[in-house]
Symmetry: C2
Subunit: 362 residues, 2 copies
């Protein structure tokens, strides 16, 4: 099927670009002995998660318990939930998962640690599962150290550091800040938690961090032996702005149709905030909601719910019915708006993939 036989708006995933992005990151990590545990929040698609494992990822990362359940059901067997999971029912669900697969959780408070530990003690038989190995603690490891003896579960290890590497800080220090994975050191050199852990005699076999913009600099950060980038599978306008990809590396586009040209120098497309997501550029620019592929002279300067508002040059030959492909500012929330996406090769549709973990916010 030709992509022009698809109704719009619809998300297309370019198979060749996706494959190249997956291979490039896997090869970088392999060449630096850094484990790759990609964050699947970007795609929420089990088929892509399985490709990531096939290319050498040690496992995957998710944000929510319900995402972990979807991925576990699809055969993923080593999952880290980078989220401070709270609530009896979620702890039960985590412990249920822990009976089937290797699962780890990050956290930054004693209360979350205690809750998970209690649920694990109740539900997971020690003989069948080494709960000890599934608990990973994020930024507040050092907060928990003095208190871990109070935890009702088995003793703890603190193998994971969450953090957002800042490209402006090189070498042995690492700026971590409050961000999507929710673990906040403020600004601390990475050595401080290391020293705290060392002085407490606590091993930290995994030092994990990194996101897509700085992924290929991960080997410059002292001690980091795992990274969890997400966006690299598709890339997006933010990634291009951050100079960690080019538009030719953007695997995901929204195919859209021009539906109105009745106002001079304007065109309306059938993709608005309910298709592209309303995220502003990371740079804070207020008037760019996506990049129009092959038409750098067009500006997508506004979104209403079901329309994108394009500014176009007066001499443009664009007409109602023309199709355009848009690279979203932020691909993760865009994918989350769609029940399915189409894998394409050139202009041919290869396969329809269900976004199985879409909407899994629990």
């Amino acid at each position: 099927m030709h992509i022009n036989d698809l109704e719009t708006p619809v998300v297309l995933i370019d198979q060749e670009i996706l494959d190249r992005n997956l291979r490039r990151m896997a090869e970088y990590c392999a060449s630096h002995q850094i484990a790759l545990r990609p964050h699947t929040k970007t795609h929420k698609i089990p088929e892509i998660a399985r490709l990531q494992v096939k290319y050498g990822s040690t496992g995957i990362t998710v944000a929510k318990v319900s995402e972990a359940e979807v991925m576990a059901s699809a055969g993923l067997s080593d999952i880290v939930v980078v989220y401070p999971v709270w609530g009896e029912s979620k702890w039960r669900r985590l412990a249920e998962l822990a009976r089937r697969i290797r699962i780890a959780v990050t956290m930054d408070s004693l209360s979350v640690a205690e809750g998970i530990s209690r649920a694990a003690k109740r539900q997971v038989s020690k003989s069948e599962f080494d709960w000890n190995s599934i608990l990973a603690c994020g930024g507040a490891a050092f907060l928990l150290i003095p208190r871990r003896s109070r935890l009702p579960g088995k003793s703890w290890t603190f193998p994971t550091f969450a953090g957002k590497a800042s490209p402006s800080i090189q070498g042995t220090s690492w700026e971590t800040r409050q961000h999507a994975s929710g673990y906040a050191f403020g600004k601390l050199p990475l050595r401080l938690p290391f020293e705290l852990l060392d002085s407490a005699g606590i091993p930290y076999p995994v030092v994990s961090g990194g996101n897509t913009p700085t992924a290929f600099q991960s080997h410059l950060f002292h001690g980091v032996n795992e990274i969890r980038p997400g966006t690299y599978v598709f890339n997006d306008r933010n990634t291009v702005d951050a100079e960690s990809a080019s538009y030719a590396d953007c695997a995901a586009t929204v195919l859209t149709t021009v539906v109105s040209t009745s106002v001079p120098n304007r065109a309306m497309i059938d993709a608005g905030s309910k298709t592209l997501a309303a995220d502003r550029l990371e740079s804070g620019a207020r008037q760019h909601f996506g990049y129009v592929l092959d038409h750098p002279e067009f500006t997508l300067d506004g979104l209403s719910e079901e329309h994108g508002h394009l500014s176009i040059p007066g001499n443009s030959s664009i007409r109602v019915g023309n199709r355009l492909r848009i690279i979203p500012n932020h691909i993760c929330p865009c994918i989350n708006l769609h029940d399915s996406v189409y894998l394409v090769s050139g202009d041919q549709v290869v396969e329809r993939w269900k976004v199985a973990a879409r909407g899994m916010v629990i």
Copy 2:
């Protein structure tokens, strides 16, 4: 079931507030002999659409063909699609709908009009359906007038004006501008299209417009005899900012849990942009992503995908595990992120409603 037995994040709809909002708008319209055709893009829930009709709406409004299909399947029988529908398959779907229910479409180009007309001629038997009555034309009625004789379908009527009433312009003129429903006059006094239609001898039995912020001033606009507000069913922070509702009129809230307080003066909640939607306030304010009910001292000043970032006073007693209710900036894209919502009465869960038209962007 108590709302605290629900896992978070989750959307709650307060039954009493919803009912009051529905009644108030219906009573206003009835008292001014203005027809009410609410836009269901806000809720996307057939149960609410049926309540709107029960309270006297003449029919409903949708943005996309697939939304019309969902609503028609749920028993709604009079639907206007305020969108310039483009494409053979969508025109076929429209014509199929037209065999079952009364459906109208707005548009602003001859090419869309011709396409729909062709599809109707092919698929809808004249004896069984008065296609003539189902075509409504938006802002560009006057563009089409000289050309309508070329249309292959039956002759046309132009009953609908789409537009966003500006509260700053009162009386007989009406500022319409490019907006969510996509029909653009630029700034024209409403009289101009009226005069064009009059001089062409074309009747315009329905003059339709209005959105929630100006809905209760609709009787001040000359000629308007139908309005299509959407947000009034729930209201949201934008509606409150526009002074057309108070927080007590906001029926939809996101119930969320505090998951981290490890940084002084900050709290993280489990609702981010994939739960609340990333829409900025209409005012353009860059650091307010929702209003925390009962805690005016908290500021939701950032969203990552699965976290909301709250600034809280130093003396706050907020703890991990506490629950908060958030009124989103813009409720329409928020609802569109959720597979279902819970109808509640006080703190008791009444019913679970599926957001049946969620994600219907085709």
